[in-house]
Amino acid sequence: MTDDLTSTLSRELAEQAHAMDGSTLHLTDIKGRARSIRRRRTATAVAGAAAALALITPIAVIADHTGGSRNNPMPPATQDVSPSPTPPAGHQPAPGALDVSDLPTGDAPRVEYLSDGNVLRHTDGSMVSVDTTFPISSFAVLADGTHLWVTAHNGTPYVEVQDPQGHLHDPMPSGWAVSVNKSHTVGAWVRPDGQVMTWNAGATEPVAYRDPVPASDDLRIGPVLGDGCGPRQSCEVHVNVSERRTGAWQPWLVDVNGTQPLLDGGYRFLADSSESGLSIGQTEITDSGSCSTLLGGGEFQGFQTCQHTLESFSPDGNLILGTPAYQDGVGNGEIAMYNLRGTMLFNRHSTAKTQAHYPRAEWEDGTHVLAPVFQDGQWSIVRIASDGSMEYAVPPVPGQDVEAPFILPTN
């Protein structure tokens, strides 16, 4: 019966498709759309920054008429208008520009990172080759020195755990990422069947934690809270689940109370949570962007921005990394930081000239992020401070635009 169906299906698809004839697109059409895409990658951020500036005035007006913003349940983000601290010595690009050419060179990354596919570079400058079964796509490090390598083979992701002595465990089915708690004492990933797996620092094997979330074709591990996960340790693991039929996202929470949808906050996608009870995530997703919200308990007011995706908290939970609100998968051309009051500390975006982009940024400490950035045929690891100043943590090396030679650990 299946053969009947598939052959009928193939025939029907071919008939439908072949009725769609005629070539109507010309090179000028394509170049026009290409210019539009290029402008959107680089200039949307400019428009967004202008819009944020424009918001400052209305907010001030509201404050004047309401005696402050306390009556506003979800105030928008604002922009820092205080003078910037003195940037590091050496060339700095124009304010607002993500231009990583000719930056001063600072310290090497203060976290381990991977280069050339499998060369792990330690903070003391030493290097070691990592011999995972499959190529590495991302990784996280636990406090005891355990490495959780996310690898991939034929488009299927795995987790390969390497204990502090260097012994590598066999690949285990996984989603495309691992997550670690803030103190790096536990890591977690989610299997394709929805089962959350955890690995505590000092452990010798993974723990299947609680009941699985609904199986889906797209499961993304979210923030992990608590010091450890297991029968005697309680933790909270979040998983963003793409509903099978509609594709709509819903965060789930796995903890001592069971496995259930996370409805608080109305998040469509939970990005990060802090130990102090704050959370960030996308609450609205549109064709041209998204809106992200910071929420907290009690009197904490939080804020919402549609200019950036609120991506992650700094390790101390006091700052928030912002990435483009519209993420089309070609790399991020904009980076920003906010404080918990919703003040944007800086915003840098690539320009038509620089075309700079980065695949992902990670916190190095409480006030700095590191990002592998591509510009002018070269990759570098750039350190960006909370005042927006930049320096090379790893100077530029030649490379292809879609293949970053550096992988930073998930923090």
Binding site: D4, Q16, M20, G155, P192, G247, A248, D287, V402
Partner: protein, 193 residues
């Protein structure tokens, strides 16, 4: 990879290089557009969205032309852009929100004309294919129209082979359930008379 210099001096004017690059791309565009448009139509279900999708896919290819051409992987690259652009979270969310009755009406009137008589079973199947979730429809199109293997389909969609299998299996089950007439031999015989 640039073409060798025309004058043998080792220097080629930038404008000439751009011209040669555009000529190469235009030739590729002309050659591949029809088949990509057909695939896009199967993914989107209407000509307007299909052309829009193809234009975006070719534009992104144009932006990466030098790199992709040097790898000789243009077909795979542009097909991957096409499918993933169609599946992207953002577009999907917008489509779901904005999908209106008016759009549906337009969609119903915007179907290709068939010269061959239709026994009705095929169209019923096509109707159901169009109701499949986007990822499942992409799997169906790549597997049963493009005739890709499960591994090739997985590579294009950036998902596992297991996911391709499960998506295809569920899609076929849905088609069997919603278009049983298509597979009923008696019904086919009646239609053949």
């Amino acid at each position: 990879m640039d073409r060798p210099p025309a004058d043998g001096t080792g220097t080629v004017a930038v404008a000439d290089r751009r011209g040669a690059r555009d000529a190469d791309f235009a030739a590729y565009l002309a050659a591949r557009q029809p088949s990509l448009l057909r695939t896009a139509y199967l993914l989107t279900g209407n000509r307007h969205d299909a052309e829009d999708l193809v234009q975006t896919a070719f534009a992104k290819l144009y932006l990466s032309w030098d790199r992709v051409r040097s790898h000789g992987s243009m077909d795979a690259y542009v097909r991957r852009i096409l499918v993933n652009e169609h599946n992207s979270l953002w577009r999907r969310a917008w489509k779901k929100r904005e999908h209106s009755a008016e759009e549906e009406t337009l969609r119903r009137f915007d179907r290709p004309h068939h010269d061959e008589p239709d026994d009705g079973t095929g169209s019923a199947l096509w109707e159901v294919v169009q109701t499949l979730p986007r990822k499942a429809r992409a799997v169906v199109v790549l597997r049963y129209y493009e005739e890709m293997s499960e591994a090739e389909t997985a590579a294009v969609l950036g998902i596992s082979v297991g996911t391709v299998k499960s998506q295809a299996s569920r899609a076929l089950a849905t088609l069997r359930e919603r278009a049983p007439h298509t597979l009923d031999p008696r019904a086919r015989e009646e239609n053949d008379r």
